[in-house]
Symmetry: C2
Subunit: 284 residues, 2 copies
Amino acid sequence: MLGGAAVHFSLAASFFTEVRPVGPVGDDFGAAEFEVLENRGVVTDDIERVEGGSSFFWRGRYEYDLNVAHTEDTQLGVFAEFEPKLSEAARAADMLFLANIQPDLQRKVRALCPAAHFSALDSMNLWIDTAKDSLLAAISEVECVIVNDAEVRQLTGESNLARAARAVMGHGPRAVVAKQGEYGAALFTEEGFFALPGFPLEDVRDPTGAGDSFAGGFLGYLDSHDGDLDEASLRRAMGYGTVLASFNVEDFGTERVARLTREEIDERFATLHAMTQFEPLPVR
Amino acid sequence: MLGGAAVHFSLAASFFTEVRPVGPVGDDFGAAEFEVLENRGVVTDDIERVEGGSSFFWRGRYEYDLNVAHTEDTQLGVFAEFEPKLSEAARAADMLFLANIQPDLQRKVRALCPAAHFSALDSMNLWIDTAKDSLLAAISEVECVIVNDAEVRQLTGESNLARAARAVMGHGPRAVVAKQGEYGAALFTEEGFFALPGFPLEDVRDPTGAGDSFAGGFLGYLDSHDGDLDEASLRRAMGYGTVLASFNVEDFGTERVARLTREEIDERFATLHAMTQFEPLPVR
């Protein structure tokens, strides 16, 4: 079914700002798929449709607790020969998310968007294993890294997450978000540390795309506050990322986020806030 | 070196209240070991020293990220034939922690302490596998269950943690604390859900005893507020549990907590509070 980092990210971010995904699709990406994006106001001009090609495809299965995914099949399809060609409007973006892909491709897109004052990238163990130098170069060109906590460790060879995050910041980024699946996400900045638990749900159907939905809520919220990237804003953005990820996993593919409303987001954000706050009264 | 659930729990709780551990030790538990407890004001009258016996012994190793422990050796020693005989003072306790042990033994101690208005138990996969009925009976006799999140799932056969916690509460307890290692801990009550991340440390030396130190901080704080067991108090108790666990892992065995001060605890509690709060300003 419909999925992919750009799709999940775009739908989540669409509740906060104009989103313009860049990437190739094949013949199998038709009117119904475009409609899911366009119904949420996502601008699809930079989606390149390759005649005769097939869209990127992933199939996997999850362990009992849904925390661990196992890939069963990956087909690059039209991504194998993709060369990003951004429209003028896309090149003018002031905020940029480089979804998980070969890091040299991420660097090309980053270079095409000189106006972006805040850019973030995701990555995965494959690129740490096969293209680490490129990935480190890409990291040095972004303001924020949003990856799984195990990848923060693997990237730096540092088993302690706090040290590993600091080592990543040493390459340039001012913020590192370590995604932790159902356990939530942690934010490391120069100012300090912040963490939120995953929103507790009694019905989780499909964790696929949760991380990209998180990134969409996180960056989408930040873009709706352009220029306002202080610690308080980053913490609120963590909250919106958590909320969008939680809706994404409530149904398969894009189904839940496609029918989501801004009112539902704000309500859950308030609930998340209430679930994570405590009063530090002095001990008697 | 010195360890064990009762030792870690007692030292952590000693910063908040009078603690009276009950359990057997062997000849190897000598003046030096008693001194560690007594230096923190722990009342050792109910520690039963068995002549010619050996104290319970555990040896294990941890995975790279310190989240997964592998047992290499367990020797029950004097625990094999232990029959709890509580002093009058111990039987009068108004708060009780039943550390991880065979659940029938936990039930015996619970029955000996009828004045306890708040009791909590810990357990492990071994008892879920070998003594599930006894464990469920023990759970029905306590107000709070403090176990690892994987054990909440295993106990109930429910992969979703929120559902699993609700199922545990269905057996009687009003609160379930799911410990999540470095990810922190989650609190489930009738009123709702609360979670705190683990305190981020750059130097973790030994996670052994972190869960018992958590329980000691949690229950110790609650006991210092006797009768005051509302949601706000439970949340603060989660904070103190988190703080005590974090100190425990900073050094091997009991070394860090043995030299800890109340001032350090309060300072870290305030830091933890600052690390987990955010302002939910409306989106512009």
